[in-house]
């Protein structure tokens, strides 16, 4: 595992990453179950398999940095600091949800944690993120704005317009494409002409690279210096992260467009949690027993989050009249 040689990360951070990935995995598993139990309805896009990216990137950030994403963002929101309780409650449409039950599965927000959504229109978060980058520069701050996008979002006009503005005006936006190879059911290679999505950056002379998004250490090692440089130079950066989602596009997707073998290959040989666990054990940084314990911790946390969401009341129906306009 290349990362090994690269940085001997302190154990604490490694353990934190491990715990976080377990939390994300278990959280989404429970969300999927809650959906099948009809605790909530609508859409439900799970991030299972893509944990290394969320955790690796988050670990390279500081609190004041901003983040926007698409609809597959339950765990990214938690990573940014929103309590699992608040995300679960939002999924259940409850008043203790991070948007008081008004946003829902695709629209997580937290002003306090600078998580600016949770967006449902593919690619449309790119101009928004560019606006955050603009505001950062407008105030001469040195934060960065993370903009997560799906692979298929790189076919959207708004995405290109945002890339061009960020590159032209030196706005500190880190565009991260989570290339899980499919946009809903369509292999990305059938809807674009390039084999690698980082080529999108060539149209704007934007700095770019790709990274193995299944390995949390690789992601962390890769993103950390990128972010540090962005704080200094305030230029945008385009990162293609190669990853994979284990579940269907949404809970209702049977996933017949890909082979069982393809999915299993990732699960058996490239699973992010498995990879980090192996690294911890091989390097005597943790025992399998410890890992198991941490995973159980995660399960408990998630259980607690669900219990909280179960108990949380619905918002009053009359609240539907609020938040249309501010005074």
């Amino acid at each position: 595992m290349t990362a090994k040689k690269k940085t001997p990360l302190e154990r604490d951070l490694l353990v934190k990453m491990y715990k976080e990935m377990c939390l994300f995995r278990r959280f989404e598993e429970r969300v999927g179950l809650a959906y099948t139990k009809q605790k909530f309805s609508g859409f439900c896009h799970l991030h299972i398999g893509q944990e290394a990216l969320a955790v690796g990137v988050q670990s390279a950030l500081r609190e004041t940095d901003y983040m926007l994403s698409g609809y597959r963002s339950h765990t990214q929101a938690i990573g940014k600091g929103i309590l699992p309780e608040a995300v679960m409650a939002e999924l259940f449409g409850k008043v203790d949800g991070c948007c008081r039950g008004k946003g829902g599965s695709m629209h997580m927000f937290s002003k306090e944690h600078r998580f600016l959504g949770g967006h449902g229109i593919v690619g449309a978060q790119a101009p928004l993120a560019t606006g955050i980058g603009f505001a950062i520069r407008y105030r001469n701050e040195d934060d960065v704005c993370i903009c997560y996008l799906g692979d298929a979002a790189t076919n959207q006009g708004q995405f290109f317009e945002a890339m061009n503005m960020a590159a032209t005006w030196d706005l500190p936006v880190l565009f991260i494409v989570e290339n899980n190879r499919y946009g809903m059911g369509t292999d990305i290679r059938r809807t674009t002409s390039v084999d690698s999505l980082w080529k999108r950056a060539l149209a704007f002379d934007m700095e770019h690279s790709d990274v193995d998004g299944m390995n949390v250490l690789t992601v962390y090692d890769h993103v950390k210096p990128v972010v540090q440089q962005m704080r200094k130079l305030h230029k945008p950066y385009f990162l293609e992260a190669l990853t994979y989602r284990y579940r269907g596009h949404s809970v209702s997707d049977p996933g017949t467009y890909r082979t069982k073998e393809e999915v299993e290959d990732y699960q058996k040989n490239r699973d992010p949690i498995m990879q980090l666990e192996r690294y911890l054990v091989e390097n005597k940084l943790a025992s399998e027993a410890e890992c198991k314990a941490w995973d159980n911790e995660a399960k408990d946390k998630v259980k607690a989050a669900e219990d909280f969401a179960d108990r949380s009341p619905n918002p009053s129906v009359d609240e539907l009249w609020e938040h249309v306009l501010v005074p």
């Binding site: 449902g120 809807t191 539907l320």
Partner: protein, 325 residues
């Protein structure tokens, strides 16, 4: 007659028209290999092959515009929007190009194209996935706008839309795709611009279209039990409107309710109300009443969403108010 789901009826309409005319092709996100996000295009790729059924990138403006260009030179595209919430990414191509091309070119280039997809709220999809767009897209000359409330209407109207030589915007509903209804084995076409009386009545006319009409029919049953006879009118085509049918019904009942699962401000309902008060001024025994979505973005919470949409109670109450009961 066969019993089909709405999605099957719409799929049949496309299949029959693709069979009939080799210039008809289907393009949209996930319409091919995935058989459609809502399975309306199920089986079409297998049956007609990749030259007739195209999985598009997530580029609504792009593939809508591709359709318009292709339609200018003799093909007849069916462009599927996964939902109309995404269709507005392509509004410029629809409004500035599909609708205006024939006029700008002095009559040289008509644009035989259908833009279709589900419109309006489904269930707990939140603000960005629940908007009803007919209030916006019916304001444009050069476009026809069609809705449907039964598998029978859906098939007959979609076939007419595909054969129409003008741009047609076709509005479906996620929640109705599973709805079953009778559909004749033999071919039939329902002409655009012709409304339909879904239930005859004499005391009050309720005008509605698309999914909400089923709530209106429920309300009519409930009101019937109280001795109130409701006429339910589905214009089916919203642009142009079948005003004759509407005015005739008003002249019969003298009372009108318009029910829309859309925002009220400047909506199709507002237009119908205006036309009625203008043309049937002395026929009205009560002001035209309207029941619409509450004027807020769609909340995710289930009870709130239900409260935003027109309810049985609100429809019944409006009907009674019109009768001063």
């Amino acid at each position: 007659m066969a019993i089909l789901t709405f999605r099957e009826a719409l799929g049949q309409a496309m299949a029959e028209e693709m069979e009939r005319d080799p210039n008809v092709f289907l393009m949209g996100e996930e319409v091919g290999l995935y058989n459609g996000a809502y399975k309306v295009s199920k089986g079409l790729l297998d049956r007609f092959g990749p030259k007739r059924v195209w999985d598009s990138p997530i580029s609504e403006a792009g593939f809508a515009g591709l359709g318009v260009g292709a339609a200018m030179v003799g093909t007849r595209p069916i462009i599927e929007f996964m939902t109309w919430n995404f269709g507005i990414q392509a509004l410029d191509q629809i409004v500035n190009h599909a609708a205006k091309m024939l006029y700008m070119s002095g009559g040289q280039f008509n644009v035989p194209i259908v833009f279709r997809g589900p419109n309006g709220a489904a269930h707990m999809l939140g603000a960005q996935h629940s908007q009803a767009y007919e209030p916006m897209i019916t304001n444009i000359p050069g476009l026809k706008v069609v809705t449907c409330s039964t598998p029978y209407d859906g098939k007959g109207l979609l076939k007419a839309a595909i054969r129409d030589n003008n741009p047609v915007l076709f509005l479906e509903s996620e929640m109705m795709y599973g709805l079953k209804g009778e559909v004749p084995e033999e071919e039939y076409i329902i002409p655009l611009g012709v409304g339909d009386i879904k239930r005859e009545g004499k005391d009050v006319t309720i005008i509605a279209w698309n999914k909400v009409i089923h709530k209106v029919l429920e309300a009519a049953d409930a009101l019937a039990k109280e001795g109130i006879s409701v006429e339910v009118l589905d214009p089916r085509t919203l642009q142009p409107l079948d005003e004759d049918l509407i005015f005739a019904s008003v002249r019969k009942t003298h009372r009108v309710i318009i029910v829309e699962e859309a925002w009220s401000f400047g909506s199709v309902g507002a237009q119908i109300a205006d036309r009625i008060q203008k043309e049937c001024f002395d026929e009205l025994d009560a002001p035209v009443a309207r029941v619409c979505n509450e004027f807020v973005p769609m909340p995710y919470n289930e009870a709130q969403e239900e409260r935003v949409l027109p309810s049985l109670d609100r429809i019944v109450a409006a009907a009674k108010a019109a009768l001063y009961l």
